[in-house]
Symmetry: C2
Subunit: 517 residues, 2 copies
């Protein structure tokens, strides 16, 4: 496959490097469309080679091979690189040239590990990239990759695991750097990169690696190139994510499970007490009644307008999820606005057994796991304290241990345990104000190539694996998706649309040359 690319293009890469950082920062530079095509052509062999390296983080050797490959690719472009130790699955750190004083430093986050594959589901080998074009009947036919050296049809696609998620953006970044060099344009910001090796596994150690490399990573803002663009394939920017905490709430009843016949009406039922406590947490309009739950959340009229514009048409989610009516919109006009507020959900309930396995006994305890999606206005710990205050306010004595002691049982009529589940279940919300300098810098770069106003997501409802980083690096981040929405990531036949590859190069180039904020 790779042999289809003739070696003729490679010599360019070994030309003596001129560090662009040394050049004075000028006005934002948008790589012209025809130049982007050229950069895509040049970078395709490298992209294919990169995609040929399996990178499911389940195999440390694969991660190590990819990390070595990345170090070389960045070094070739004037970056100093370093592997960040991570129990055999190193992350890659890269920094461009020497930092220029008076310029902001931006840390870019991407990841090179990939979702696992089930080869039988794929039309072609997931670790052997192929070029495909759509037939008139909508099916996809394989093309010789050599065709890329003649012309690049933006509707062609490269099929391979990680082609979109997230090696595509890494390659776009490298190609954009080539483009700036070719045009003699210097970046307007100091560039650092952190390339994650376990994103598809939930980045279980990212916060630790960040902790260990805090000084190295210190920057003025974090840009995440990951995720898919809006289905319109028009530019989009995500300015934040809610955080998340899981709380486990156990209500205790009798020390054994008394017979429900002999003791029904006599021994208290912890399942009912739990139900009552949970039911009281929301009013009839779906608003959480825990005091201060929505404290400080204010959404500007302008933001509301923006969200109304991108909200799914009425009925869309209802149909998709098979519900007659959406929930919790008491304070919000639409589902996009709804996730700007913290939410409280019961993830699970458990008390004894149900159905045919139910015993005629009053359960001795009942448990609920709750998930609160937090917003930046209220930190996870503070939110937990609000819930604790609420539960105690309803007369419950909260025990510390696993089970109440005999003394606690004798003393307190209402006994419960409330636990905050540890990281990664707990992560902070992060949100960059859409009129902040960082946000304006991002929006300017993202709009530049096509002069299309990006679709702005004020804050997404769910966390990102790297969102825990905010807790460590205390850094604001903005997510800029670059790949086509129908890329099949996390499924089989993952692919990247070449039009997105071209626009990605241009978007990154424009961002890097946008005057620092």
């Amino acid at each position: 496959m790779l042999s289809a690319f003739c070696g003729a293009l490679r010599p360019r890469l070994v030309l003596p490097l001129l560090l662009l950082a040394a050049l004075p920062a000028r006005a934002q530079y948008v790589i012209p469309a025809d130049e982007a095509v050229k950069l895509a052509r040049q970078s395709m062999p490298e992209y294919f080679e990169f995609l040929s390296l399996p990178s499911d983080a389940v195999n440390p050797e694969d991660i190590q091979r990819n990390a070595a490959w990345l170090e070389k690719a960045f070094q070739k472009r004037g970056f100093s690189t370093k592997q960040l130790a991570n129990e055999g699955r190193p992350l890659v750190y890269a920094e461009y040239g020497k930092p220029v004083k008076g310029r902001k430093t931006i840390l870019f986050y991407m990841h090179f590990d990939a979702q696992p594959v089930t080869p039988a589901e794929w039309k072609t080998d997931p670790w052997k990239p192929v070029l495909k074009a759509r037939n008139a009947d909508g099916s996809w036919a394989e093309l010789d990759a050599g065709r890329l050296q003649e012309a690049i049809d933006p509707e062609w696609r490269v099929y391979a695991r990680a082609s979109a998620d997230d090696k595509g953006p890494i390659m776009m970044f490298l190609a954009a750097m080539d483009g700036l060099r070719a045009a003699g344009k210097a970046p307007a910001v100091n560039i650092k990169l952190i390339l994650d090796s376990q994103e598809e596994k939930g980045s279980p150690r990212l916060h630790i690696v960040m902790q260990e490399n805090q000084a190295l990573l210190a920057s003025d803002g974090l840009i995440v190139y990951d995720g898919a663009m809006p289905s319109s394939n028009q530019p989009g920017v995500n300015f934040g994510n809610r955080g998340s905490i899981q709380l486990d709430l156990t209500v205790f009843g009798a020390s054994s499970a008394p017979h429900s016949g002999t003791y029904g009406n006599v021994i208290p039922n912890p399942a009912l007490r739990l139900a009552t406590l949970l039911a009281g947490m929301k009013d009839a309009d779906g608003r959480v009644t825990i005091p201060g739950f929505y404290e400080g959340v204010e959404i500007s009229a302008q933001d509301r307008e923006g969200m109304a514009a991108i909200a799914p048409p009425a009925g869309t989610l209802e149909k998709r999820f098979g519900v007659a009516k959406l929930d919790g919109l008491a304070a919000a006009a639409n589902p996009v606005e709804a996730v700007q507020y913290p939410s409280l959900d019961i993830l699970g309930l458990e008390a004894a057994r149900v159905g045919p396995r139910a015993a005629n006994a009053i359960p001795s305890q009942a448990m609920a796991s709750l998930n609160i999606r937090t917003v930046p206005e209220i930190a996870p710990k503070a939110m937990f304290e609000k819930v604790r205050t609420y539960v105690e306010g309803h007369g419950f004595h909260l025990i510390e241990g696993e089970a109440p002691s005999a003394e606690e049982r004798a003393r307190y009529g209402l006994l419960a345990r409330l636990g905050l589940v540890a990281y990664p279940s707990t992560s902070s919300a992060a949100r960059v104000a859409m009129d902040s300098p960082l946000a304006r810098w991002v929006l300017s770069g993202v709009k530049a190539p096509r002069q299309i106003e990006p679709e702005k997501v004020r804050m997404g409802g769910s966390t990102l694996p790297m969102s825990g980083a905010v807790d460590v690096l205390k850094m604001s981040y903005v997510v800029v998706p670059l790949v086509n929405a129908d890329n099949n990531q996390h499924s089989f036949d993952e692919n990247l649309r070449l039009g997105n590859y071209l626009e990605g190069i241009r978007t990154i180039g424009a961002m890097l040359t946008t005057r620092s904020f």
Copy 2:
């Protein structure tokens, strides 16, 4: 062990039988204490033999062997007998002589099957009865069973599986019949017996066997000789039991389980809806709010007084079950009174997973199994209808099938399923008024031997395995326990106190000769 009994006593049993039923009914006859000792001596070899037959209903052959033994034992005493087919585990039916017109017919229920045994837990072989006496230090020492022919110490005990539960009462019944014959006393009622073979397994087919033998079993009242006497070992009578229904309530949410981050505040949570529905079923005082739940329940001042007298001292149950405060006593003065009312308990809750297994998703459904303990004033079906009306009154559309159809999903904001679990989970309550003729007949007989006013339980909280029979035979029943409270039934080292054996013979004798009501 059995050889310790000399054969000298056996010949008495083969004397030509004089059917007592042929004699005119006279005044209540109480077997004198010394005569009871003689009857006990005589019957001990048979009792030991009976206890030597394993009777865990898990083995049909054991049940068959016991049934055959019982037929012979009753035939010897002038009963006609019959095995009632029950899938290899026959019940035994026995009827004394010819029914005398103008006398009431009483059906006596006992069971000959036993709890399973774990021999390693027992001090002696559970299927080899031994006689024991208490040492000065409280431990128990084995005595030669031959000692029984010299004297009978009421504090001696016979150790064997089923010695108390429930072969003891069967043997007392046989000995009482011998006592009446020896004294030339005729029973004052027509006697039928049904001896159950699967009581310890919950009598899963008893209602079917009763259905199949309805005419045979037809009687004016049912007496159950099972269960333990009050811990005072004074006589006690139980006039009823609550019934029981299990309801399975499932609340439906989305057709899939949406991500709790992306959709928290957007998609309704069925676990919360279930909690709200359940919480609303009781008020802050623990009173069920379902309209008509307590309809028709009236407890006389006299009954209240009686219950106050036998209620456990304050703090007893609290300590036993490790709770600071009992529940549901809003309308009741004590735990005995509390179970005179219907009760509603959550037996179990289930929605997705909790704790470390919880997923960040809004559950697609949530389920509760409820147990209502019913009273005779409201039949199980009627109670179920009240719950159904309540749930529908809270806006839920109840579906008939397993899951809502797409149409139901689109149409109804609140969807649930409510099912009444079939028999044996459903059984009717039964209660005989304590001043009814049947009750007075029982109380007179139970009081007679020791002239001690029996402890009267108006209605027990739990069902009996045979209580489903009320639905089939439409017969009132009264439970008369005869064995010592500390008999260890359902555990290891089960035993019967010989004093209880003696009093049991006298009690049964007195009941059988009490002028029919």
